[in-house]
Assembly symmetry: C2
Homo-oligomer: 264 residues x 2
């Protein structure tokens, strides 16, 4: 199933939408957080007629394959931004709450300052896809729903050789070159393996408490390059900072999530 | 007026609180965004009995000195986190909406990874306070409500000599050594002059669309060191990333805000 359909929502009332979380978009049975965010944001995108500019999700309970409902509320409709909330529910339980501002994404580049650099990677065709290994928890089924090519510098953990740097970089696109818009960037922001897998530290399952994505521009078609990095693991938390570059070398999105480190 | 009183809220009903935005906490008549965030978070802190861990505010209209109301809603009460929203209103108009998760801040250091470094600064007593200049828009009245000592490397813009790096670093505390808790960190996260003032670019007034703060720990008493930096100004937006260090060299908070760059 294409992402556009998998993340689609059907309007039921002015404020409520129905969705169906598709099979195999999960990690160990838990639906990917970026996919959940995309579905919730899609509802507000349809309601406001605007694109996500700054969206924050708090994860309340694990998402599961199956029917879902998204209840939206508009907080403000301004000249440039519409701000609203979206609650994604399943079986009457709250899964994710989103607060976001939606607006117009400018097409012109207009870069006044850029201190970040896109990651240097070999051509994507030279890199293997990360694929789900049936019968194993990792790589999870979700990996078969996107086309991810990890940097050789960061892929060693797949063979038991973590890099020692809590970073994951790679090319990312939807399957079969399916085009994506701003909503696809929300998926991409939570599509790479946990940075902790490369940390060399004994940090295992890290549930996400909160994820914020700032979208700067509509991405140009083609491969994205995603760079995720953790620089501080302390007090039972770690952050993952993401930079997403499009094929025109534009920094199209910045993301940060706060994850919980299990107490040993 | 001390910050504790200036940011105090009085419970009116189970969900609603009254506040009074104090005089002189403004920048050109607009109340500081960190102060607004602190007031809104204070209401949820009181309602949940927990400390802010991850809070996001979307700014809807300028805050003004005077009465305010904070209407809270609890989304989830879990074993470790309470998630809720708070809407700060004035005269019936929406000023700020907060979505946040509140929990326990661990006291033990427990740092597994730390790639950031606190800024190197001369002793605070060797640095002048940034003070409001009556009759001038900058430094604004708000600067007299906190005790900010900018790094000499970043303070040249006050004399018309921006550093050329979109960064502001300095010591920060409340006036007269007033103690602060996690809510004080929310104020500190939006207390330094705009990074754009040091960029050397023609970026003037930059209203905040969204501000997220992750709090890792209760700060130790004494001076904070705050390091704010902008690395990408593009497509009509800029981010400000903040790191807040306490006197025990703990990274106690990370912040990011998305600001709007006026279209020329």
């Amino acid at each position: 199933m294409r992402f556009r359909e998998a993340s689609g929502v059907t309007r039921i009332t002015e404020a409520s939408f129905e969705a169906a979380l598709a099979p195999d978009w999960d990690i160990a049975g838990v639906v990917d957080g970026g996919y959940l965010l995309a579905v919730a944001a899609r509802a507000l995108q349809e309601r406001t007629g605007r694109e996500p500019v700054a969206v924050t999700a708090h994860y309340l309970s694990p998402g599961r394959t199956g029917p879902a409902q998204v209840d939206t509320a508009i907080v403000k409709t301004g000249a440039r931004f519409s701000t609203g909330t979206a609650m994604l529910r399943q079986d009457g339980g709250d899964v994710l709450m989103l607060l976001g501002s939606f607006g117009t994404l400018r097409a012109d580049a207009d870069v006044l300052l850029q201190e970040y650099q896109p990651p240097r990677l070999p051509p994507p065709d030279d890199l293997p896809r990360v694929r789900h290994t049936p019968g194993h928890p990792f790589p999870p089924p979700f990996m078969d729903r996107v086309d991810l090519r990890l940097s050789p510098e960061d892929a060693g953990f797949l063979g038991g050789q973590p890099s020692g740097v809590a970073q994951m970089r790679g090319y990312w696109r939807l399957l079969d070159g399916e085009p994506y818009d701003s909503i696809g960037l929300l998926l991409a922001a939570d599509s790479l393996p946990p940075t902790s897998f490369n940390s060399g530290l004994h940090v295992a399952w890290t549930p996400t408490l909160e994820l914020t994505v700032h979208i700067r521009a509509v991405p140009a078609p083609g491969w994205l390059r995603v760079d995720t990095r953790t620089r501080c693991i302390s007090h039972g938390r770690l952050e993952v900072d993401g930079l997403i570059w499009d094929s025109a070398d534009q920094l199209v999105a910045m993301s940060r999530q706060l994850m919980l480190v299990p107490q040993g």
